[in-house]
């Protein structure tokens, strides 16, 4: 199975681990990620304004490129996934945005939301299957207590994201279980880390992050897993609890991490 792949700005730089492990694990699990040529940064946050068109166009270009290849579009970063999926929803369902974006793009065939946007975890869940993933594990993470940190962007708003139950998600816990580790349930796993606010208001982000990591540590988590580079940055900056990308944990369980190092 081949997918169009949108790595995003951070996976090319500070979050190279998230990207490298995702690609290597995909090959091992029998699917491949074909990076789109000429992709542009999604912008990091979805432009909420109904009149904001230009800032949605990088996503439309990526979505249309995947459509032309006849492939679903996969993202690993929570933010890229969030932005691509919401812009895609606009292109399918919001007539004004669809018209104005297409007027600008001047494509041979207008883009109207045909591409399916998937998060890497959804490919593991829906296509590979967590049962098959479990069979592929060569280095089970037995005895490790891992807290899933969902944050905001994968889950909300669920009317568009439709990723998992927005209040009581389970996909990451099932993923952790498939790798042989023990998922730790703690109440702050879908609370906000502060996101962009940490650039100007470190203390605000620190307060929010501390609640999350204190809660996870209180339930004896050894580490937290995330799919978001900004969550990882904010949480790591404010706690000694190790924060790891889900793809790193995956690579470790599949025996790829040692091979790459």
């Amino acid at each position: 199975m081949k997918y169009s792949y949108f790595p995003g700005c951070t996976l090319r730089n500070k979050a190279k681990d998230l990207d490298d492990y995702a690609r290597a694990c995909a090959e091992k699990l029998g699917f491949s990620l074909e990076e789109l040529t000429d992709w542009q940064c999604c912008g990091g946050v979805y432009p909420l304004g109904a009149d904001e068109i230009a800032s949605k166009l990088p996503s439309v270009r990526a979505l249309n490129a995947a459509k032309k290849k006849g492939q679903d579009l996969v993202a690993v970063c929570s933010a890229c996934y969030h932005v691509l999926k919401r812009v895609n929803d606009d292109m399918a369902n919001v007539a004004d945005i669809q018209t104005r974006a297409n007027n600008y793009m001047q494509l041979d065939t207008p883009y109207t939301g045909e591409t399916k946007v998937l998060h890497y975890l959804e490919v593991l869940w829906d296509v590979v299957g967590f049962d098959k993933l479990k069979e592929a594990v060569v280095n089970p993470l037995t005895g490790r207590k891992v807290g899933a940190y969902y944050g905001c962007l994968l889950l909300r708003p669920s009317s568009v994201m439709a990723f998992d139950d927005p209040e009581n998600p389970t996909i990451l816990e099932d993923f952790i279980r498939a790798l042989g580790a023990e998922p730790v349930m703690y109440p702050y796993r879908n609370e906000c880390c502060g996101g962009y606010i940490s650039i100007k208001e470190q203390e605000k982000a620190a307060g929010l992050c501390k609640k999350i990591t204190d809660s996870a540590e209180g339930f004896q988590a050894d580490c937290l897993v995330t799919a978001c580079p900004l969550c990882k940055y904010n949480l790591s900056k404010n706690s000694n609890l190790p924060i790891v990308y889900f793809t790193e944990l995956l690579a470790e369980a599949l025996g790829i991490k040692e091979a790459q190092e």
Partner: protein, 125 residues
């Protein structure tokens, strides 16, 4: 177009649907820092009191975590209204929340590109 009309147009929200249950404010991780709370924000728009909104700190405190949008039982989307108020500010010259001169001092080695990109979108046009 009046400022309130602009907020409604940018957000695409009908504030009159609000039944004042307060779930948005109860869900908000920035509640304590907001002088006008999310549920009050909706009322200010209904009452056409945009000057107060423009002067309030609230618009700058929203994290765009979408908890209020997720939990609103009337689909009012308070977070979209707050973002629209912010848009009106940052679309005016001199009203941006982050100037290029400030940025070098804010950087550190671990900072992901995603944070810079997000900050550009949230504080500037």
């Amino acid at each position: 177009m009046s400022k309130v009309e602009q907020i409604k147009e940018i957000s695409g929200v009908n504030p009159l649907k609000c039944m004042k249950c307060g779930k948005c404010s109860a869900s908000c991780p920035s509640f304590n820092e907001m002088d006008i709370k999310p549920h009050q924000f909706v009322t200010y728009v209904i009452n056409d009191d945009v000057e107060a909104l423009a002067e309030s700190k609230s618009a700058w405190k929203c994290l765009s975590c979408f908890a209020c949008i997720e939990r609103c039982p009337r689909d009012v989307k308070p977070g979209k209204l707050i973002d629209a108020a912010r848009q009106i500010l940052i679309r005016q010259r001199g009203q941006e929340g982050l100037s290029p001169d400030e940025i070098p001092a804010l950087l550190d080695e671990e900072m992901p590109q995603q944070l810079l990109m997000s900050a550009f979108r949230k504080y500037r046009r």
